[in-house]
Amino acid sequence: MKICVLVKEVPDAAVQKRIDPATGRMDRSGEKNLNPYDTHAIEAAMQLKESGALPIEEIVAVSMGPESAVRALHKAVSLGADRSVHLTDAALAGSDVAATGYALAQTLKRENPDLVLLGQQSDDGECYTIGAVVADHLGMPSLTQVIKMDVEGGNSLRAERQAEYGYDTVQVSLPAVISVGDAINEPRYPSLKAIMGAKKKQLDTVSAADVAIDASKVGGDHSAAQWTGSKEPPKKAPGRIIEDEDTAQTVEQIVAWLDERKLI
């Protein structure tokens, strides 16, 4: 069996995110990293493989992105993936979520996976959507926000989904597309050996044409969603600072403030 894990390169969590006002796209020039949610997806794949409950022969990391996305793939391999596929093509730049999902699905078709795992959300786009789009194109069931996964029999999984009202328990037969939340596991540290050997693992670079992507369905110009403008969130009013000169008085002031707002 084969698991494909979708991984995305995103601006590092420490970088202040910013929309480039000229293009309407996120400024991705700073430090980048593997999307943290995707490390949970890789770990979930590793745990399935190591448990031996399914005969998993291979874990393949798949990413769409510019040249720099190779780093995210190296990281994925250092976390346990056996090899990786990098979809990169100028024609894909500016793709919206539907186009990205289509392009990824085309890439996945070539791999013919038994299970597709991905993070429930990216740290930058935060659409929570790619899993569903990919599943639709592949004609596979889609589960989102999964925080527990157990093998049931030879060909299905019992999964727990984190829903707003509690937890759903769902059984799904493979192949399927499953997006995971960060509560599903504690990702391991990439091992020294795996890191130093990451570049030696197979990495296939494919273009849009290689995976039969219809160029009229991808890229900024062909995306259904078009950016028209953005604005900063309204600035918060500055808080009130009470100097603690006399503690009894300070407490009185805080209580009065809370009382005014009917908070106590």
Binding site: H74, S78, Y189, S191, L192, I195, M196, A198, K199
Partner: protein, 394 residues
């Protein structure tokens, strides 16, 4: 871009990843454990140490500098320079980053031992996480052991008999064994000194603690007719110092990297603090008296890294990097101490609190200016290279 442009400052991806992984490991695993400890402790105690070691070993963050064939990580000198800098940002980082969590490599001279010695001593250190010691310095002096060394090893059939006193041997109180340098030929200087493996339970060996300012104390070791098997001689008689030479550059680069990591972390902490702390109605960050020491520290950190990386790179290329390594160790340890001192000043009273890592690093880095070739000795080595025989008055 011309073909002759310099392309040396970008770290390869895998090294960047490794350094980030180590930094994350220290931040997420070691720092929380240290923060919960009584800050007057001098090391990470058991069982916390054991638990952290288990996690580190799973990831292969273990004796990373030791050769792969002996069970180590097999990293190059340059790789160690980068990794050590990332691994050193925590309280008990001296004498070895990780404070034991990422292992202690065996005394490097043993890598030149014979097959039996490798099996019996080198591999178990890495496999079982044993602690070892190295004893060169004596009460008569450490800077110039070729002259100062008085401990003798007299051959007697299939044994050597050790007599003498060693000072400052780090870890001899906790170690299973160590390497002791002793004179096999009392007539000559350097070439009369040999290296021996000595197990710490050998009769005639006596270890006592020597408390020092840094957290990690040292010991004094006495040998009174201490008999060891002749098979414990490493290499040939008289080869003691020559054997360890190969790793000297690497050792000094690693010390420089350690000082660098600590200095960077100190500046980060002090910069954060200066953006929070107000005095006389304004943030410390607005004061030039605070800005300038931070700026100076940053410049010196960059300079120290350049020295350390250059020495490391030359070493990996097989070039003679001894002088470069002396420059790196000298500059980085002095810089580290000065930087921590400046950062303590910016923190004020808080800087002196044992709960803050700065207080620990201050004592550790003060010590680093003396150990493994004091600053004066590094300067002497650099000058001797410049002046040749004239430096020795000949």
């Amino acid at each position: 871009m011309s073909d002759h442009s310099f392309s040396g400052f970008e770290l390869p991806d895998e090294l960047r990843m490794l350094s980030e992984a180590l930094r994350d490991f220290v931040r997420n695993e070691i720092l929380p454990v240290e923060a919960a400890l009584d800050p007057t402790l001098r090391a990470i105690p058991q069982p916390q140490l054991g638990e952290l070691q288990a996690k580190a070993r799973t990831a292969g963050f273990w004796c990373m500098d030791a050769p792969v064939e002996f069970g180590g990580g097999g990293l190059s000198t340059f790789e160690m320079a980068v990794v050590w800098e990332a691994a050193s940002r925590h309280r008990y980082t001296f004498p070895t980053p990780g404070g034991g969590v990422i292992g202690y490599s065996p005394p490097v001279v043993l890598y030149r031992g014979n097959e039996e010695q490798i099996e019996k001593y080198v591999k178990p250190v890495i496999e079982k996480g044993l602690i070892t010691f190295t004893a060169i310095s004596e009460p008569t002096g450490g800077s110039d052991p070729a002259r100062a060394l008085r401990t003798t090893a007299r051959r007697d059939g299939d044994k050597y008999i050790l007599n003498g006193r060693k000072m400052w041997a780090t870890n001899a109180d906790e170690a299973d064994f160590g390497v002791v340098y002793a004179r096999t030929d009392t007539a000559t200087g350097r070439s009369g000194i040999s290296a021996f493996v000595v197990e710490t339970n050998t009769p005639g060996m006596h270890v006592s603690k020597v408390p020092v300012m840094r957290n990690h104390w040292t010991t004094e070791v006495e040998f009174n007719d201490c008999e060891i098997p002749a098979a414990n001689l490493i290499g040939d008689e008289g080869e003691g110092f020559a054997l360890a030479q190969k790793w000297m550059v690497r050792g000094r680069v690693m010390l420089a990297a350690q000082a660098l990591g600590v200095a960077e972390e100190s500046v980060r902490m002090a910069a954060e603090w200066s953006k929070e702390r107000e005095t006389f109605g304004a943030l410390l960050a607005t004061r030039q008296g605070v800005q300038f020491p931070l700026a100076d520290s940053l410049v010196e950190i960059e300079a120290a890294r350049a020295l350390a990386w250059k020495a490391a790179w030359k070493d990996d290329q097989g070039q003679d990097a001894r002088v470069d390594a002396s420059m790196a160790k000298l500059f980085a340890s002095e810089m580290g101490f000065n930087t921590v001192d400046r950062c303590i000043q910016i923190f004020g009273g808080m800087g002196t609190a044992k709960e803050m890592n700065l207080e620990h690093w201050f004592r550790d880095l003060r010590t680093m200016r003396i150990v493994e070739g004091a600053s004066e000795i590094q300067r002497y080595l650099i000058a001797r290279d410049l002046l040749g025989a004239a430096a020795t008055g000949r």
